[in-house]
């Protein structure tokens, strides 16, 4: 597995982490009503969205490099 393939695996895991953390913090906010929970949730969800966009662009940019 090349660095490209591992990077894609890593990105998928990071995106999952970002959305998991975002949703977890939103649920936390629902019970605590602390603004910092909401702010952290928004940061994570935005980061997850940004990583999806980055993933698409990196796949295009590295299409000539092997997965092996």
């Amino acid at each position: 597995m090349s660095l490209k393939a591992f990077h894609i695996v890593f990105l998928v895991m990071s995106i999952l982490l970002a959305f998991f953390s975002g949703i977890w913090l939103l649920r936390q906010y629902a019970s605590s009503r602390h603004a910092q929970d909401l702010a952290a949730a928004v940061v994570f969800l935005l980061a997850g969205g940004a990583m999806i966009c980055y993933g698409k662009s990196v796949l295009r940019k590295l299409k000539h490099i092997s997965y092996l």
Binding site: M1, S2, L3, K4, F6, H7, V9, F10, M13, S14, L17, F20, S21, W24, L25, S32, H34, Q36, A40, V43, F44, A47, M51, Y54, V58, K61, L62, I65, S66, L68
Partner: protein, 257 residues
């Protein structure tokens, strides 16, 4: 005699030696961290009800470190891709950013550790508990000064309410029964926290040293044997991604759940 497949990939596997080597090494690392994660799960599952700490770590610092490490993985891949396209200056720039990210991560982690080492739980002779950060300037031979709060019992200490009032506490040493900071010896949680994050931080440090060596002192290999140099960058990048992936699991386990 030259060792075969040290640069060119072996035709049947499509891999050069170092890539096989790093994947075998990463497999052993998976077993190491896997065993520690299993230990964490067993310790947590077997903890008495209400006695596993929550909100002891600063989510914002953990989140910053997560973003720093994810960003460093991006710069590692971009630096490798730049070398593949023959853009050495761009590689130097991206990999320089990677090294800065590694140092940033370690600085934040050191700050978190320092915060735990100056954080004390004090049990008084009358049974009350004081919890907070020690004020070294105002702590004397007779009195301990804390910036903290008075949890009503151990259970309250395990899950401190967010935004609890913080006050300056002065305790005469004669009234102190026990006093201990939040180092690895404090309880099971801090023990597994320091083991997991400490081992991970050592990996970050090792990865940063390797990346720096390839980026700086060993950069002349690029002119002598570019393909070998690209392979070295790829192998160090694979290790770096593994280290980052471990953090992706550590962050939710230690900071959120």
């Amino acid at each position: 005699m030259e060792i075969p497949y040290s640069v060119k990939p072996r035709p049947d596997t499509g891999l050069y030696n170092a890539k096989v080597g790093i994947w075998l090494f990463l497999a052993s690392e998976v077993m190491l961290f896997g065993a520690l994660f299993c230990s964490y799960i067993l310790l947590r599952v077997n903890a008495p009800d209400g006695m596993w700490p929550h909100h002891w770590l600063n989510i914002w610092l953990g989140m910053t470190n997560t973003i720093v490490l994810i960003f460093s993985s991006v710069t590692v891949v971009l630096s490798w891709a730049s070398l593949k396209m023959g853009q050495f200056k761009r590689y130097k720039l991206y990999q320089g950013v990677t090294i800065l990210c590694a140092l940033t991560f370690l600085c934040i982690k050191s700050y978190e550790y320092h915060d735990k080492f100056i954080h004390y739980e004090v049990i008084l002779t009358d049974g009350r508990i004081a919890d907070g950060h020690i004020e070294k300037g105002q702590t004397t031979a007779d009195t301990v000064a804390l910036l903290g709060w008075w949890p009503k019992d151990e259970a309250a200490l395990m899950d401190p309410p967010m935004g609890h009032p913080v006050e300056k506490i002065e305790i005469p040493r004669k009234q102190i029964k026990t006093m201990e900071n939040y180092g690895p010896w404090h309880n099971t949680y801090t023990a597994i926290y320091f083991v997991l994050t400490g081992l991970h931080a050592l990996h970050v440090l090792a990865g940063a040293i390797v990346i720096f060596a390839i980026w700086g002192p060993l950069a002349k290999v690029w002119e002598q044997d570019p393909e070998r140099y690209i392979n070295r960058v790829e192998v160090s990048g694979l290790f770096w991604h593994f280290v980052d992936l471990v953090w992706i699991f550590l962050f939710p386990v230690l900071y959120l759940l």
